[in-house]
Amino acid sequence: MHQADITINSITKIEGNAGLTVKIQDGKVSDLKFIISDYRRFYAHAVKKKPIIAVPSFLSRICGTCSVSHLFASIEAIEKSQQIEVTAQTKILRRLAYNGLMIRDHALHLYFFTLPDVLGIDSILQISDDPADPGHVLLHDSFDIKRVGTDITNVVIGAAIHAPFPTIGGFIKLPDPSKFPELIEKLEKIRPQVIRGIQAFFKWDKTLIRNSDYMCLRNDREFNFLEGMIVNSTGRKIPEEEFHTFLKSVVIPYSQAEGYIFSDSHSDYLVGSLARINFNKDLLNKRTAQDISEVLTAFPSNNVFHNNLAQAIEILQAVDDSIEILKSVQVSPEPPIRKPPQAGRGVGVIEAPRGILYHMAQVNAQGMIEDYDVIVPTSQNQINIENDLKKYFDENLDKSEDELKLNAETIIRAYDPCMSCSTNFLKMEITRS
């Protein structure tokens, strides 16, 4: 392909909407734009002058699929601003609920959005109704897996989307432990299905390697999505509070979402499951590590499609961690910790399904928000995605336009981007002139 304009108006099978335009001149990519073009809602501005107690629930509305991530990051930021240290029970119940989110969210992406790429079809709606068909088996596995993830969040925090029970300082309603044995039984039942999914994604031989830098939370004690230091490929290790200084924001004029690069090296980077398994596979639950030892030899990996495999592994990690918690946790009556409001600044950094999520709350002495900031994973991955696409197009211009478009979408989907978080819409155009 020597000269062309290629357009994908709307990338499908992702959360939210985005697009891509590619200009090809003299047999080379002269311009490529990954465009997040949905309209911003300016929620970080909307919470200014609002009482802190109302803020986490409101900000969970940033995203439908990872609303629990925004809820927990906001609660953590505000608790830190108020110097509230929550109890061990609150921490372990949050961790349990978060496992439910990871199971449901990863399964949605892997099976509903990515599985058709693995099977070479357009949609799960085209999967055979024959119960012996491998695609049919995996899809119906996913219904069971997603359902259990949702069951955990329903029991522990009241809902999978915009959960009502978590609040600043703890829970307004605690889970009923009599429901835990049934959850354990369900988790054990889906375990073989989860492992079948891991094997399916392990066998998928799709490859795109660009030696990205990575960044994630690492907690040296355990695999933990909610607590840890921030680590990156160059060996830097920084506390959550310094996260913002670690990054440099980049205005992308054609995109409604800012991009980010490292402030020191100015290089792009990847956040998400691939980063987490690359850096933290030694911390996986022992049962998880034992049952997928062969699969884990694939990591550390620079293949962006292994982000999908890493998500599948994290489902098993969340299943096994949940079983352990449910078998050991004791739930005692415990009201949320409340303190008179005080002026302060707090940072909450957690691992959302798609990578590091940052919330910062500046609160005044009356307990009102003075300033608020949110940095989401898809914004951080935006420049990395664009550079991956440039590499792919540069190396594959001999392919047909249809194949280029399909593979471009597949690469973008591998990141599991969420435009609702970073904002909302992808359109692809390829111009050959």
Binding site: K13, E15, Y39, F42, A46, G64, S67, I124, L125, S420
Partner: protein, 161 residues
């Protein structure tokens, strides 16, 4: 002759897409049944090939933030026999319309830049401020029981069983 199915489109505008996520949850239990009764002619969350032509029912979540979104939703209305507003942002505008309360003097430079760079409407609108809406499924996310009753209502209306 192939049995008539209910031809639906699912569309998302400015929102968190929580009702789309809830719909994917409902598919855990209704995938096999709906495949026999419903043609998903437009649903970007599930497929690459989509069309807005000849829809029996368009389900639309999200508020309308711009003139281009308003044009798009009007085209959907022209192509659909019925339109159902899905979730709080489509039904009430909120919380996506929170920026309608912003005071100009308090806007940051960053917000002004985005508002100037892209075609934001002065006010975010709920769906029935832009097009005629036949039914609503309120909730944040949508109430699944009401949604199921609306789906069943249209299956009956089009004599699909």
């Amino acid at each position: 002759m192939e049995k008539k199915k209910l031809v639906i489109g699912w569309f998302s505008f400015t929102c968190c897409e929580d009702s789309t996520i809830l719909l994917t949850e409902l598919l855990n239990d209704h995938y096999s049944g709906w495949k026999q009764l419903i043609e998903f002619r437009h649903m970007k969350a599930l497929q690459m090939k989509n069309s807005i032509e000849g829809l029996d029912v368009a389900f639309i979540e999200g508020a309308i933030s711009s003139p281009s979104q308003a044009e798009e939703v009007k085209k959907i209305r022209e192509n659909a026999k019925y339109v159902v507003a899905i979730g709080a942002c489509a039904c009430t505008g909120r919380p996506s319309a929170t920026r309608n309360d912003f005071i100009d003097a308090e806007l940051t430079e960053k917000i002004k830049w985005y508002m100037g760079q892209f075609d934001y409407s002065k006010k975010v609108q709920k769906l029935d401020e832009v097009i005629k809406v036949d039914d609503t499924v309120n909730g944040c996310p949508m109430n699944p029981i009401i949604f199921m009753s609306i789906v069943n209502k249209y299956l009956e209306l089009f004599h699909i069983s």
